[in-house]
Each structure stands twice: as C-alpha cells, then as structure tokens.
Subunit: 333 residues, 4 copies
C-alpha cells in the first residue's frame, strides 16, 4: 500500500476513455475542436473570461505563468519551500531567463502578507537590486494547508497595491477547492490571482495540466513561449481531452474529495502526531524511526520527511477500505 | 480525405492499448519499470550502448539535443529550411541560451559537405565570430528526401574532422529507415551521428518522442535540462509505454512502410509533376492554382507550398483504397 | 602607417583631458553631475527629448537596444553582413535571450525596404515561426555606405507599418552625419529610428559609447539591463566625461570630417579600384595579392577582404600628410 | 567630507598618467602589448600560471567567474548578503543563464564550512533540485571582515571534497591582503580558490578590474563570454594600462594600506560602537539617529545601515588629516 505521492497513482478511467474518443483525425497542435473548447469551458467554470492552455507538466505551467508575470531582471516572492523554488530544478529561472526567486519563510509553507512585505520592504528601489514583479503561492501548500478566499484576498490586495502579479501554483487546486467548498472563482481571480496552474495529473489525469490566465491580455506571449519551450504537442487533442474529461460532471472535484476524505481518515487516527492540520490530501506525522519502520513492515510505503516526520499522500483512487488498515496501524502505534 | 500532415493522424491502436496496460501504480517521473527499459531497448535496436529519453515533442527533443552539443556562444550549422530553424519558434535558441543557427542552402533541404564547409570556412577563428559547434541534419528532410548511410557518413566525417557534434532530427526517421532498408545503426552512429531525435508521434504515437544519445557521456546534463524545461512528466510511464509499443514487433517500421507505400502510389500518379523524388511519405507537386482547387473540390486537403506547388503527406493509417482516389485525381489533372 | 581599423587609433586629447577634469569625488554609478547631463545634451543635439546611456562598447549598446525592441521569442531583421550578426559573438542573442537575427542580403551591406519585406513576407503569422519585432540598420554600413535621410525614412515607414522597432547601429554615425551634412535628427528619429547606438570610440573616444532612446518610454528597463550586464561602471563620470568632451564644440563632427576627408584622398587615388563609393572613412579596393604585398612592403597596413580586395580605414587622427604617401602608392599601382 | 563609498573616490594619478602613456596606436581589443602582459604579470604576482582578463566592472568579473564555474542548471552557494546576491541586479543569473544563488546566513557576511555544508546537505541528489556547483566568498566581506588563509583553506577543502568550484569576489581584495600581510597566493589558489575577481576600481582605478583564473583550463570560454557580453573594449589597452599601473611598485597594496589605516583611525575612536572588528576599509557603527544627524551636521557623509547603524568607508585618497576630524567627532559622541 503506497502513500508516497499522488504522482504515482494511475490515471482515472474517464481520462483514458477520453483518449479513445478523440482518436480521429483533427487539426494539429491546438487547432482541434477539443483544444478550442478550453477557453470556453474554463471561462464557465470560473465565471469570467479566461485564456486556458494545456501543458504537459505542472513545472511547465508554473514556469510559463511566471514568465508572463516577471521580466528576466525581476523577482518573484515565494515560500522558501515552494515547489517552484526547491523542486523544479530551476525551471522558473529557465523560463524567465534568470529572474530571482525571493524566498520567504513561514509555517506550513504558507505565505502571509507580513512575510511578503518583509522581503519587499527590504529591497531598495534602485537598479542594483532585483525588484519584485510577482508573488507565487501554492494552493494547497507543500504541507497540505489551504488558503481561504480571505487569505488569498489579502495577498491579492497586497500584490495589487505593490504593482505585483499574483500566481497560484494549483498542483492540488482541486483538493483545496474540495476542502473549501467555495466556487473556484472565490479563491482565484476574485481574490486577486492573475494566473493559475490548475493541476490535473495528481488528481487522476495523465499528462495535461491547465494554465489559466484570468487577465486575457497577459496570455498573448504564452502562445509563443509554449511553442518555443517544445511544449506545443502536435496532437494536442489528447491533452485537451484529458482536461475536458476531468471537467465533465466535476470529476476533478469528485476525485479530490475522495483523496481528501482518505486523508481525513488517516488524520483522525493520527491525532496528536499531526504536524499540520490536514486540509487536503497530504499528512505530515511525527513518528520515530522505529515507528516508521513498523509501519513499513506492515506494507505501508511513504516518505520520511526530515528527521522524525513522515509524509503520507492519499490519491484519488485509494478507497476507504484500502486506507483503513493504515489508519488502524497509525492509531495503534 | 486529408493529406495535410502526419501530425493530424490518429494514434495507432497498439499505442492507445499500451496506455491502459501501464495504468497501474508505479514510481513517478522516469523511475518506473517501463521508462527504465528504454536505454536497453534502444541499445538493442541500435546495436550499441545508448541513453534514451522520452520527451513530449520533436521540438523538445531537437532542442535538448542541440543544448547537449552546443554552448550558448556557439553555432549550429543547419539547412535554411530546417525545422529547427523555421518551425520551432526559436526553441533551439531558448534551450541553448542563444546559440546561433547557421543556415545553409541546397536543394531539397539536404545538407552537403560542401555547403557545410562553405559556411564554416567563412568563419574566422576569433572571438568576434560565433564558432560552429554542431551540425544538424533532418532525416528524412523537410522535402521528404532521405540521406543514405554514405551521405550521412561523409557529413559525420566532416563533423569529426572539424570537432563538431552531429545531430539528426529524425521526426520521420522511421520513414527514412523504411526507405533505406538499412539497419538503424547504419544511418546513425555508424555514420557519425551523436544524437538522434527519433520521432514517433507523426508515425502513430501520441505524445512521446525518443531522444537518443549514442555517446552516453553526452547525456548527463540532459536529465537536468529535461526537468528544468518542464518536460519531465510525473507519470512518465505513459510516455515510455507509447515508445515501447512502437518498438514492439517493429511497429514503427510497419507504420512507416505503410505511409511510404501510400506516398509511392501518389508519386507514380504524379510523374513529372514531382518537385523532388519521393523517398519518404511526403510529396511536393507542381500544380496550378486551378488544379489545386480542382483537387480540393474533390474533397482532398493539403497545403499549398509557395506558389505553384502543393505538399501532400501520407500518414501511417491511410489505406491504399483511401489514397487511390487521390492518385487517380492527380493522374487525371 | 596603419589603415587597419579606427579601433586601433589613439584617444583624442580633449577626451583624455576630460578624464582629468572629472577626477574629483562625485556620486557613484550614473548619479554624478556629468552623467546627469547626458539626457539634456543629447536632447539638444537631436532636438527632441531622448534618454541617453553611456555604455562601454558598441556591442553592448547594440545589444541593449535590441533587447529593448525585441522579446526573446522575436526576430530582428538585419543585413547578413551586419556587425550585430557576424562580429559580436552572439551578443544580441545573449542580451535578447535568444531572439533570432533574420539576415538579408543586398549590396554594400545596405538594407532596402524590398529586401526587408522579402524576409518578412516569407514568415507565416503563426506560433511556429519566429515573428519579426525590429529592424536594425548600420549607419554608415559595414562597407562604408551612408543611408540618406530619405533612405532611412522609407525603412522607418516600413517598420511603423509593420509594427516593428527600428535600431540604428551608429558605430560610425559621426562619419555618416559628416558625409550627409544633415542634422542628426534628420537621419534618426525624424526618419523613424527608435534607438541609436551612437559611436564615439572609433572617432576619438576611449571607452564610452552612447545609447540613445528617441522614445523615452522604451528606455526604462535598460537601466536594469545595463546593471544586470555588468555594464554600470561605478565611476561612471569618466564615461560621461568622454562623451561630453566629444559633444563639446562638435568635436565628434570635426573628427569624423577629418577621417572622411582622408578617405576621400585615398578614394580619388583609387578610382576604378573602388568596390563601393566612399562615403565615410572606409575604402574597399580591388587589388591583386601582388599589389597588396607591394603596398605592405611600403609600410602600409590594412586588412585583406576576401580574395582580391583590401579594406582601408582612415582614423580621426591621420593627417593629410600621413595619408598622401598611401594615396600616391595606390595611384601608382 | 564623504565616507559613503570607495566607489566615489577619484582615480589615482598613476592610473590617469598611464592612460596617456598608452595613447598611441596599437592593436585593437586585447591584442595590444599591454593587455598581452596581464597573464605574465599576474602569474608573477601569484606565483603560479594564471589567465587574466580585464573587465570593466566587478559585477562583470563576478558574473563571468560564476559562468565559468556553474552551468545554467546549477547553483552557487553564497552569503545572503553577498554583493552577487543583493547588489548586482541578477547579473550572475544573467551570465549563468539562470543558475540559482543558494544564500546562507552568518555574521559579518562571512561564510563558514558549517553554513555551507548546511545548505548543501539539505539538497537531495536528484534531478528535481538544483545541484550546487560552486561557492562564492567575498574578500573582504560586505561588512569589512577578512578571511584568513586558513579560513579560506577550509572552505577550499570543502569545495574540493564536494566537487565545487570556488570563486572569490575580491572587490576589496587589496584591502584584505594589506590587512593579512600575506602573499596574494596564500589566500587564493593555495587555499583552493579557482577564480578571483581582483578589484582595482574601489582602490584607485578607473574602469578596469581583473578576472584571474588560477586554473587556466577554466578560462577558455571566458574569451567568448566576455565578447558576447559586450565587455571586450575595442581599445583595451586603456584598461590594461590601468591595471599595470596599479601593479607597478605594488601601488595596489599601498593604496589599500592607506585606506585601511584611515579606517583604523576611525575604529580606535569608535571603540564599543563597532558592530564588527575593522579589518579592511569599512566600519559599521552603532549610532542613534540623533548622533548620525550630529555627525552629518559637522559635514561628514555616510550611509545609514538599517536602523541604528552607520556605514563608513575610507578611500585610498583620504589623508589622515582629513579623517582625524571625523575620528574626533565620533569619539566625542
């Protein structure tokens, strides 16, 4: 039983089926009838006019987003444990041609207006220092915490006041929205988000994430950047189809709710061992090396997280009965 | 009936089926059991030790190849109609951080040693001029011509003599090998090719091309560059599976032979109208605007190619009976 | 007696003297009183509001100009013998983060509207092809030809019509203006030039060129790019002083006139041997290898230019009496 | 009386005089007889074979050094207050094409092996995380502290053990060596430094710093990078002459000793107010806003440094009698 990563989970049957449904001749690149639906479908979902791009990975989505918000000589404020800073091998620097990530601390990998202001206020407004151009937050965070609409809104207001763009890395956006129970709009453009990396792969997709621009005028050069990065698949309809299948009947929400529910099952068993409240599909537990070994001896796999902690991730496809044995094992530690 | 592009064709059933077969939990990125087979399978196919990477597009494969062969301050000799120069929106420049493509002329988009030497000899060996570091050839060329092993070998010898790397853009490598009837090795590493972009998508694949390094020591940094470019899919097994399915029972060759045969059918009908000999799955015909309109009125779709020419591409899935009507229409012009 | 290059000439006494005059404490970088005069002095000279930057080299000026006019995914139309294309080791590609130089032919390294349109019209307006964003012309050209105000104006009109920026590489702008006898404005902003690299080093300066933005709104990011490129000297007043000395009493024009006059002296002697009309301070002569050797045996140094041609450059400091012996030697060939 | 920055100081008379001495015709770029002496002169000074380049600024020297040590996908460990990280507008990122600066804390902007290991040990050796390729230290540090040969040597040993390059930003290398009284070799290559930015401009130079490669094989591509960055001045002899003048009779050491002595004069007056020991030519004092205002009212200029601190920098040209009034004012606070 593996609780390593939602990246390792299989693809949802509806997504696989969708690949077969588009397996007919159509226009190459993103000129096909399915790719052409994305703007419209996401505009409906968000209740505002957006521009939507399929891209193969979350790293690509994040990097294209930042390239749209920040010039090569600018900076992007993010958490020091943000995926864009520590898990993307410098992709944001590659796509932005060398912009600087300005890393900020804070518990749970969550940014606060104070922390952001702290770094910005320390930057002299002169030509010797890289000037901030954007803020990037992760929803849910790398520790599974969820920003409420109000929390995003204060960061959005700060961004606007400072003239900065706001990017949301939504690799687990679905889990966050499922937790919040709000409209997707509430926690994005209504709260000041300019660009969203809307993740599907961790949530049952195969190889398509969506990059959403809430300000259509920001999206223009992304058409060129996507091609220039070798990300414009010639058979784009197989990417579009995945996303459309995830949007159909809110499959993205259903999958995220399932994963979140599984995480709650474990959370209740973990009790005081939890390092952070469990709001999405990730748990961080305090366990000794012996306890961790004990769980592994029972056939449960997961990552150690530094010393004395373990990270467990529940995927969209893990049924309650598959999770319960781990819950019991944790409770019995 | 469309003869626009092999990019528009559907995906081969074996490839789609393979996606279902790997739809089980496995390690993320390229740690899964299928991705791990690629080095071995391609080493067998080529009869030498290679390093193989899946990447989503041919543009990405080409650009990663060039980044491995050429520093930012260097140059890559290519044909002035090479895909890397005129159809990739500057992707080679992006991945190489600004290397210069040194474009050379010549009929049929084919490079010759003389043409290559011509451009290289004109470059002073000083710090003011970009120095060449690599040569890139396209097999089959953008006009459907195929380099013989001997033709590649003389370019390979030139490259070695000048200390340059040699890249082969094999978006239609399968069609070329099918035409030549040679071993894949004969027209690649045995002829001096260092890196090959081995195309599968135009030949029945969905979203996976292979990047093959014949000198394993050249491949190291590509692991980082692929991640840094946002090309390292988290569910890489679905990419590996496509390629493995294409290699199985030489499906790649069978598909290419089918497309080539269809092109020959049209070539025989076209006779004197052919601008170039037909060696792969592309034809370039001399047609007047009226003739082109006539063909279109009969339901055949294709691209105009400049003035007075048309480009027709036959795909792996087009059966003889689907092509014959066009052959007859061309013959009847 | 050397006629290699105006780059090899000494520095003009007024420029050296100016270094001593500013050799007192002042603000670092470009906050000093001399640097602060540049905008005003050049605005006067050009009769319009400009932004002016000192930079150390012409290559840096050109590259910063192009970075201001062209995004990484764009292209710059230039002559195939333009300095930016063949003599700057890829600096434009470095500063623009990989923009593509779109090289055009034409006699005397001079661009014409037809040649420019030819390359632009061949570019499909889609995401696969690098789109042009700017044109760069060299005044005087690499072969010493001078664009008249009318010639620049038609290119300027074309640029405007196509939505492209227009850069002038004025490494020998002084020689061109001296030849034309026009106001500097006539051949720059009034003719549609957006950014000018105004060369001083070849004309008696030491280490300071001026980069002039005729549209102040284009200049903003250049402040950051100049710093980011390591070009913002901490003791900038010594750069500003050089330029101010060259502007004082139109020394720049006097020096250029002197060099041009010397070139005319040689041109008259060369007669039919001239490959191009002599309009600035460079001559290209048809000479056999024996004739070239003969001139060298008399102590005259110059570059061979391909086969059967020689390039002679007259510098600001070469007095008539120093040039006359060469004129006589040429006449006597 | 200004104690703002050694950047604002005038140029030393010997340097200015040297400009006049080379004001004769010679080969362009770095082919002249003075530029050609640099390798030899620095090899003598350091007692080992080096490659030496003139460049216009310390930012350029640092960035070229890092580009030689770190690929675009790599990282450079430096102090979080290092000039390369906070005062160069992202120049290292520009020249390295997006490498990541890995910032480490520690008092006095001084790196320790423990702090360096701390950051390196936290990096997983996988393709998702930027891998460290180099360490950069500043000598003297941004707070005027000097690394002893032994302190550099332990960092050098760490670098070697980890396979990292070691760069020394020696903007105030002269002040550090003057303080240490050691041979320049002792604190550089003998202690493991691979590349040194040897500063002259703050120490009496005008516009030339030296970039020194202690491993000649590391220097090759820098010839191209310097040109490509627009840093290869066409009249390079005026840069070389400045450096040669500074080396002549150890002028660089004499100037640094003078500045250090002035700083000691102030340090003795400051006593308990010193935030750090004074080892080079910079002082950081604890002063209230009122005290700072009082000093300024007496005509002394300096920067506030955060809240409650002031930074004073003594330049090479400030005589004891010019400094003594400030020392007395400080003592009298």
């Amino acid at each position: 039983m593996r609780f390593f990563s939602d990246n390792a989970a299989p693809v949802c049957p509806q997504v696989l089926a969708a690949l077969g449904e588009v397996n007919i001749l159509d226009t190459a690149y993103d000129g096909d009838r399915w790719s052409q639906q994305l703007d419209g479908r996401f505009s409906e979902l968000f209740g505002t006019e957006v521009r939507a791009f399929w891209v193969a990975t979350g790293t690509a989505a994040n990097s294209l987003a930042l390239a749209a918000l920040c010039p090569p000589h600018g900076g992007v404020v993010c958490h020091k444990e943000a995926h864009i800073h520590v898990d993307e091998c410098g992709a944001p620097e590659f796509y932005t041609h060398g912009a600087k990530l300005m890393a900020v601390g804070g518990p749970g990998a969550k940014l606060t207006p104070d922390a952001i202001s702290g770094v910005i206020d320390g930057i002299r407004d002169d030509v010797h220092q890289v000037q901030p151009h954007a803020i990037s937050i992760t929803q849910a965070t790398e520790y599974g915490l969820v920003y409420s609409p109000a929390e995003v809104a204060v960061i959005g207001a700060l961004a606007r006041a400072r003239g900065l763009g706001l990017h949301m890395d939504g690799a687990r956006f679905a889990n966050a929205v499922a937790h919040l129970g709000c409209a997707p709009a509430d926690v994005t453009w209504k709260a000041g988000v300019d660009v969203l990396s809307f993740g599907f792969v961790k949530n049952g997709g195969m190889s398509a994430e969506a990059l959403i621009f809430f300000k259509p005028e920001l999206a223009g050069a992304t058409h060129y950047r996507r091609k220039r990065a070798g990300l414009l698949s010639s058979k784009g309809r197989y990417a579009a189809a995945q996303i459309l299948a995830m949007l159909e009947s809110d499959l993205w929400l259903a999958n995220a709710r399932a994963a979140n529910a599984g995480a709650q099952l474990l959370a209740r068993a973990a009790g005081e061992r939890l390092v952070y409240p469990v709001e999405a599909n990730e748990l961080f537990l305090r366990v000794t090396a012996e306890e961790a070994a004990g769980l592994r001896a029972l056939g449960f796999d997961f990552y150690d997280w530094g010393v004395g902690e373990a990270r467990l991730v529940v995927s969209w496809d893990q049924a309650e009965e598959a999770i319960r044995p781990l819950a019991e094992a944790i409770a019995g530690l």
